[in-house]
Structures are given as structure tokens and as C-alpha cells.
Symmetry: C2
């Protein structure tokens, strides 16, 4: 981050969480300009100090007055905090970039992946004197669409079947710690401690813990279904998803099967993906090296590989791909900071 | 196992491997009748002893004479051993149940899941005086088709999109040990030892290590594509698969998206699955409890859950399901022993 008198004043809501901490790391790494920085959290963390770029900050308790004079607030403190304090901040002229699901599907709230649909937030700028609200999509949606969108633009995706391999980080820092602790316990022959999740996570996997809706999908899956339509501004695209948590720390993987309206051969797809911003191709068939969660961890770029013509579809109307992305970074903090950069 | 004078004489080829050991456990548990038991392995293991049902056996080195007088040989020692010794055993009048991929796609060799296509091995019987060869399908295929077949029989599957979450055991006992060792090393901050696989497995996942074919699929994926057609005796069914290894010990999970020719609603599907042999439904939406690899480990039954109408398809022409099965047991040893039972 770079301190500049004419830079925006920034607030981070939920700074002590996994994404909150990543906000700091990403802002710093990208040399984001700012005139002041406010670190906000719940009462529990208020008064603690946070060292950031050689300066001590005292974490403040989030309240209605916090947003006075704040240009941009990055929220990642859960849906209920966003629902309560997001509108208050907007009222005070702050532009809120919200990482929760609270406002994503609200009509009129832009749901933005900067590489995909920057046009959705057109006209929202710091200095306009107006507050605003922009939603950060769900991590699985961001990672999937980083790879699917360039192909969609060329050949129009009609249907997408997604199966996810989701990391502990999606459930927060405590879930990551629980995975480590359980793994230690299992290796020592002890009963694993299950607090965040209701079952053993170490050396196991399970259906995503989001609540199941009346149609049998869990909320995580329906986010992929609905957010894709909104981000692509295309109500016709058919999406189904099965979301699974695997014992991996902080990056998600997704197996994505694509059906197209127009033909798109494998080589053209590879060429398109190689030019897509924020994406790297890892697709070495002879060495059997493809994207892995570990290799994208702490990286900005989403990795795509296993790019191949789908043998279950006629001609060049289908592709299978495998995508990995850092859930905390591009799946959350980086995407939000990129949105904030577009506000300047 | 029960020792019976008029029972068949049995040989196990590859007894020291993960599946070989499971053959013993399953034979014992199912009270399989036998008049004699020969334990065969490579030169390296020959001379070692194996305690089984209170009797000491000396492991013999596999050679051409081993099959004299053997009625049924269960092979699980890799494709090249099967290719060399399978035909020799058959020549001597032995019925070979082969767990390798060597003969699966050979015309005339039955590829059998007893609950699915027992008719394929009709006429092959111990006591007929003729040897024979029956192939055990690949573990991923068995586990997938245990759930997909009852639905296919009712509504005819036209296309299937499978993403797998495969355990260490599929790569053998040493891979399971490597996963444990790597996990210990990572927890202690050490560099993980990568011998079986060419990359870190602990807290990671990667595309299945089977070689990649010219169409971009790996061999494991194409097994699912081709074996499904052979087992269902249906060359029209379209299958695509993405096979991924996850840091789980001994049971595979699979996310399966199904398209049907005829309508099949979710409740009817659930009713059909509840009556299918060898299958249990684990589908508690309110408690968010669904099949997990851990819960099917060391179990015979394959578990199916997350049964829901696919929202990406019109009407009742699609379903999503999630399946888990013990890779060593139903995915290999149990299925082979069930085949052997049908030979009596």
C-alpha cells in the first residue's frame, strides 16, 4: 500500500479473519494508494493491535460511526454484519465492496469479477460523492468463471456441470486449524476433535456444509448456479454443481464440463485461455502435471488444465477442464481489492 | 472361509498387496468354501509366512506350475503378471478372476459386477473341466455403476458426467503409507517425501497419475468410459470423466451427473436405489449427512446420496448423485470374491 494524501480512506471490516488478513496482504502487495486505514472487527478483537507496513494499528470495534469519512470499505465479516452495516456505510457515502453473500443476488447490486464483467460497476467511483455497494462473488463462482468466461465469450456456454474440491479456508481460519489438529490427532491414533464441522475432515471429504435447500442443492451449489447467470447477464445458461469439501488448506479445485452452442475445438480453447487475464495454463500431458491447489496457494492467478474435447459430446461442442484457484486470494480478497482499484 | 473337502481349490496371486490381503479378509468374512488355498507372490515375498484363519501358510513364488489343480485363481498383481500367467492358468483348467485391466476390454472376456451383469459370465462354472477368464472392472467403474445401473434400467442413461475423488489405496499399500508419511512431514514443517507420486499428496490433490492418452483423457478416465459401455452392453451411452486423487486412504467418492432418455423423478429414483442390492442410501438433508469415504471404509456396501433433480435439465430427465465405496473392497476384492461365488 502506498500512503498518499489524495488517496482514498479505507476501512477493513472483519480484519481478524482469514480474508481480512488477506485484504492487508493484497493491498500491501499491490501498492494500493490510501490516505488512511481503519481496521474494524467485533468487540472481541477491539483494542488488539495489528502491525501493517511498519505501523501499529489498533483494531476498533465496528459501529455506526466507523464509516464517517471512509471512501472504500472492504467487508468480510459474514452476511449478517454486511446486512446491518453495509447500508449504514453506503448512507454515509462509503463505497462498500462486500465479500459476503448478503447482497449478491439483490437486483441493482453489481456482482463483479473484474476480468469478467467490469462493465457491471460502471459509474461507481470514489469522489462522486455517492456511496455504493458492490458484491464480491462466491469463491467457487469466481474460480470457475475465470476459466469458463473466455470460452463462453467465444462459443456460448449452454450448460455447465461443476464438481468442486473445496478447501478448509472457505469455512474460515478456525476450520483450517481444525483440519490440522484433526490430522495430528488421527496420526496419533486419537479421536479427532470435530467442532467446526460435524464429522471427521482429516483424510476424509464430505458434502459442503452449507444448508441444503428445498430442491436438494446446498446453498454453495446454488450460488454457482445463480451467480453465473447474473455475472454473465444470461438467464439461459444451465448450471448444475456438486460442492464437496476436501482436506486441503486454502485453494479450491473444480472439475468443469462445458457444453457450447457453437463449435470450439480444443486447440482454439487453449489459445483463448492462454490469453485470458488472471489465468495460467498448467497442462503438461507428458509429465502428467496439471493444476493443483497447492501450486496455486498464495498465488494471484487461477490455473486451468486438463483441457480436452469432451468425448461424451458430438463434434466440438463440449470441453472438460480442471481449474484451481486460491480461495482466500482470487476467491475473495484479491477480487475485492481489484474491484476497489477500479473505483479510483 | 470354510474348509470343505468338496470345495474348490483356490489360489491368490499377489497376496502381499493391498487387494491381495483384502481377498483373504473377504474370503474369511464370507465363509467362502475351499478345499485348499495357495498364496502366491513375487520372488521377493516367497518364503514369507502368512497367518490365515489360525493356519500358517508359506507364500510361494508365482510360476507356471502353480496352477496345477487350482480351480479358481484370484489375480491382483498388476497387468503384466496377469497377461503372462492368466492364460497359463486358464490352459491348466483354472478359472481366473483378474483384478487388473489386462483383459477387461478383450472381446469374449466377461467384465462383471455381480449385482449388475451376472449374465455376462453365464456358463462359466467350477467343475466344468474348462478354464476361463473373468475380468473385475476398475474400482471407479464398479462404484459408479452400483448406483447408476438401477437408474439406467428404469430410465436409460444417455449421458453421464463423472468427477472422481480417489483414495490413495488405488495406487497400492505403498501409496497409502506415502500419504501418511508425507502428512507427518508436512505437519512437522519438513519437505514431503515424494516417491510413488511425483508431487505432494498431503493436503493436496492432483489429476490421477494414470498416463494421458492422445485424446487428453487419462487411462483411468477412459476405463470409466469404455467399461460402462461393455458392462451395460450398450455402445450408445455417452460418458465423460475427470479422475482426481484426493488425500483420503481407501475409499473413492464420485460426483455423477446423469441424463436420461425417459423421465425419472427424484422420489422414484430414491425408491429404486433403496431396493438396489449392495447399495445404501445416506441422504439426510436436514442433518447434512451424506456419503463419505471414511464411513464406507471397510464396508461392503456402496453409499449413495445427494440424490436430486438436476436443475440444469428440463423436467425429470436428469439427476445428480454422490457415491462412495471402499476401493479395496467393493472396488476390487469383494467384487472378485462375489464373482468367484457365482462360479460354484
Amino acid at each position: 500500500m502506498s500512503l498518499q494524501e489524495n488517496g482514498p480512506s479505507i476501512a477493513i471490516v472483519g480484519v481478524t479473519g482469514a480474508v481480512g488478513q488477506e485484504f492487508l496482504s493484497v493491498l500491501s502487495g499491490r501498492n494500493f494508494p490510501y490516505s488512511s486505514l481503519k481496521l474494524l472487527a467485533s468487540k472481541r478483537s477491539a483494542g488488539k493491535t495489528q502491525l501493517f507496513e511498519n505501523q501499529q494499528y489498533t483494531i476498533q470495534e465496528l459501529n455506526e460511526e466507523c464509516f464517517d469519512g471512509v471512501d472504500i470499505a472492504l467487508f468480510s465479516a459474514g452476511g449478517s454484519i454486511s446486512k446491518k452495516f453495509g447500508p449504514i456505510a453506503v448512507e454515509k457515502g462509503t463505497i462498500v465492496v462486500d465479500n459476503s453473500s448478503a447482497f449478491r443476488m439483490v437486483e441493482g447490486v453489481p456482482l463483479v469479477i473484474p476480468e469478467v464483467n467490469p462493465e457491471a460497476m460502471e459509474g461507481i467511483k470514489v469522489g462522486s460523492g455517492r456511496g455504493g455497494l458492490i458484491a464480491n462473488p462466491n469463491c467457487s463462482t469466481i474460480i470457475c468463471l475465470m476459466a469458463a468466461t473466455p470460452l463462453h465469450r467465444r462459443a456460448k456456454v449452454t450448460r455447465m456441470v461443476v464438481s468442486t474440491y473445496q478447501a478448509a479456508s472457505g469455512a474460515g481460519a478456525a476450520a483450517m486449524e481444525e483440519l490440522l489438529q484433526q490430522t495430528r490427532e488421527v496420526l496419533e491414533g486419537q479421536e479427532p476433535t470435530c467442532e467446526i464441522f460435524n464429522q471427521q475432515y482429516a483424510f476424509n471429504l464430505f458434502s459442503h456444509n452449507a444448508p441444503i435447500m428445498s430442491n436438494g442443492y446446498n446453498e454453495e451449489e446454488m450460488k454457482l448456479v445463480k451467480e453465473t447467470r447474473k455475472i454473465w447477464n444470461n438467464m439461459d445458461v444451465k448450471v448444475t454443481a456438486t460442492c464437496i469439501r476436501v482436506p486441503v488448506m486454502r485453494a479450491h479445485a473444480e472439475s468443469v464440463n462445458l457444453q457450447f452452442e457453437n463449435p470450439l475445438d480444443e486447440n482454439t480453447a487453449r489459445e483463448i485461455l492462454s490469453k485470458a487475464p488472471g489465468l495460467v495454463i498448467v497442462d503438461d500431458r507428458s509429465a502428467n502435471r496439471f493444476p493443483t491447489p497447492l501450486e496455486v496457494s498464495n498465488r494471484d492467478a487461477v490455473a486451468v488444465g486438463r483441457i480436452r474435447r469432451d468425448v461424451s459430446q458430438e463434434g466440438d461442442y463440449g470441453l472438460d477442464i480442471f481449474v484451481c484457484g486460491d480461495q482466500i486470494r482470487k476467491g475473495a480478497a484479491l477480487n475485492a481489492v481489484q474491484i476497489a482499484e477500479m473505483l479510483l
